[in-house]
């Protein structure tokens, strides 16, 4: 029997949680769980892990779109059935990993993956994303499913990855480069701690639908949602609503998150900001936040050329100039931000100087600078 809408609580199962991961582990992983000795990157996208039992597991990592159809997942299943005894996994950056327990199985798997293309010509399973190269872009919903975005997600990611494709399949950077994207300031994902981050921002204050606001919003929540205190309750034409002090609004969109009557996305107002220099591993230096280095670039669907260009400039300047093992943020800090802007050719504007709360700690309180 299936679900019975006239008796919704009948036979309802709840709180069973996820499936136990142990059901899904490939046998070689199960046998060597916790016994791994070391690993090697054999070539871009191919890893081998060696166990103290002497067993080896080979992993082939391929790029994933994150947004994928059941047709595509079934194709992944076909490949996993054919080469990997029906096992497959995803990574924390939405790549797909196929594992085999014998080196002889590696080549047929790679050849199979390589030849698969979408009707439009793009590769279905590009191999790469390992070592000191570029890996997948962690990203968000954008215009495909969210109501607060300032930019699209999937489209921008596709444009950037097409341009930087060779570096997904190469390992020629000083250290790994993490690019991520969030389509608004909520920063779902990893934008605040990435080497390069693409962030959707607005530049116009919200419009207020005074006619309906009182009915649709809990006004105190909208007021409390504002980080700069720009919103206050107001009566407009006899109706309860809010007033926005435009001078104090920095367009974060959090009031819209709380109140549907305050939309702010705009064809010309909304677009891309670029941040750089974040990281979250503890290797050598502690984790760091990303910093804004491009305050605004317009939305330019479908290819976002200015955004792509700015990212290329930053990435390839870093590649030329940084030392081995140096993450982008550590490089920028070592050479100094004045030199970062000079080398990358990015213009420095007052928008990049912090003015939120304890901003003072980001100003230069020393005479140590480079001309």
């Amino acid at each position: 029997m299936g679900y019975d809408p006239s008796n919704p609580m009948k036979d309802r199962i709840t709180d069973v949680g996820p499936r136990n991961y142990e059901e899904f582990l490939p046998p070689i992983i199960k046998r060597n769980f916790g016994k791994w000795l070391y690993h090697e990157i054999l070539e871009p996208g191919v890893l081998v892990h060696v166990s103290e039992t002497g067993e080896k597991v080979y992993t082939v990592r391929v790029g994933g779109c994150r947004l994928m159809s059941v047709q595509h997942i079934r194709e992944i299943c076909d490949i996993a059935d054919k080469h990997c005894d029906g096992h497959v996994r995803w990574t924390t950056r939405n790549n797909v990993e196929f594992m085999v327990d014998d080196e002889a199985k590696l080549k047929p798997l790679m050849e199979d993956l390589e030849k698969r293309k979408f009707a439009g010509g793009s590769n279905k399973f590009p191999r790469g994303g390992t070592g000191a190269g570029l890996t997948n872009i962690v990203h968000t919903q954008g215009w495909i499913h969210c109501h607060t975005p300032a930019i699209d997600a999937s489209g921008v990611v596709k444009c950037v990855m097409d341009e930087l494709y060779d570096d997904f399949q190469n390992m020629r950077f000083p250290a790994q480069v993490r690019i991520s994207l969030a389509c608004c300031l909520n920063m779902c994902g990893a934008v605040h701690c990435s080497d390069i981050a693409i962030l959707g921002i607005h530049r116009k204050p919200p419009m207020v639908d005074h006619e309906n606001l009182g009915n649709m919003c809990e006004i105190p929540l909208a007021v409390a949602a504002c980080p700069t205190g720009a919103i206050k309750p107001a009566t407009v034409d006899g109706k309860k609503s809010v007033a926005v002090n435009n001078e104090r609004c920095m367009f974060c969109g959090n009031c819209f998150t709380m109140c549907p009557s305050m939309p702010l996305a705009d064809e010309e107002g909304s677009g891309v900001a670029i941040l750089v220099g974040g990281k979250l591993s503890n290797r050598i230096k502690p984790p760091m936040f990303s910093k804004v280095v491009v305050p605004f670039l317009p939305n330019e669907p479908p290819r976002w050329p200015q955004t792509v260009l700015a990212i290329k400039k930053i990435l390839y300047t870093y590649m030329e100039d940084a030392r081995k093992y140096e993450r982008l943020g550590n490089w920028a800090e070592r050479i100094g931000w004045e030199r970062f802007f000079e080398k990358t050719g990015l213009p420095f504007t007052a928008h990049l100087i912090d003015d939120y709360r304890f901003a003072y700690t980001t100003w230069r309180t020393s005479t140590q600078f480079k001309f």
Binding site: V88, R89, D162, I284
Partner: protein, 435 residues
Amino acid sequence: MAKRKTPMLDELEKGRWPSFVSDIKQEAEAREKTKVDLQTPREACDDLLGLMELSYEDKVGHWKHGGIVGVFGYGGGVIGRYCDQPEQFPGIRDFHTMRVNQPSSYFYTTEYLRQVCELWERRGSGLTNMHGSTGDIILLGTTTPQLEEVFWELTHNLKQDLGGSGSNLRTPNCCIGKARCEYACYDTQHLCHSLTMEYQDELHRPAFPYKFKFKFDGCPNGCVASIARADMSVIGTWRDDIRIDQEAVGAYVGGEFKPNAGAHSGRDWGPFDIEKEVIDLCPTHCMAWDGNKLKINNKECIRCMHCIDTMPRALRIGKDTGASILFGAKAPILEGAQMSTLTIPFMKVEEPYDEIKELIEKVWDWWAEEGRNRERLGELMQRQGFGKFLEVCGLKADPRMIHEPRSNPYIFWKEEDVAGGWERDIKEFRKKHQK
């Protein structure tokens, strides 16, 4: 079928990176032809492409604000969404997302994935996200009447629950851990699964001031980014000595083993120089190489992982392993972005995880009581102070918890800690000090 022209999206079929547009088109085509008894609009994928094209023309999204839908018994797990052009795109009039709790570190059998695909093809759009940033399998787009049907099939046939959304414990996530990594200091998968099961009620029925996330990293490399993306970050570490295989160190120096497992092999960085690449880069300068033997003054090591990452065949994590526990990471809204703050420098991580559960529950008790509406734990820690946080956790202050001591002298003291207390009489004062 009203199939809209999509010239801008068609541009995104070009290039080498896998095209989401081509993939959605292939699903649209499959839906057009399929004999499956589809329970949601056949043209859902076509209409989604149409709406995306419109957004590309307008440079603004086309989803209405919010949407409150779900399944009985739960307060979250489904993200409601309605298109703002329903007449033009009836196939995605309602297009809700269901979050499905993924297995720890995303290992799957194809049998399971095919079951999910079959269910979602019939009762949803056939589109997914593999995976959402928090970890869930995202089933992208279905109609309101299908929500209970999908949930019924998930729980009855797939033995599989929804993930979290709203002001509750969200779906926990972990790195690959001991399954396929020699750096894992504890069993991240097991802890992740155990705590997810332990706190099912907190995950499905919002009872918190705001959202709360757990993430579990096996070592300080942070492959699941717990320090940046979880209110509670559990990061593996060890407290004894790094294990050195001197012979293998020699093999690195001699060029037999590739540094960093070959991560930099796309470029000629010259022969491996242990002084330059390891000794000099150690953040505490606690290593020495005399041409023969590598020495580590482990007492001064901060376990940053650099030397181990660089010479994985020669250096191993210690044997006395456990985890550091940090709290309070969040994105910028409202008070600014935060990373998690070190709270427990070291805890053994052993089943049945009583010590860690006890800590979690102390933190939740405090935050549930004191947290304001939509105030993340990290913001409450800032508002009431780290000292208060330590008090509710029953912990003693430790210099490991700070970057540096405070520079301002605005120090709060408790009345009971000051001799004589705070009740004083101005008349007594005047006896010694004239006006």
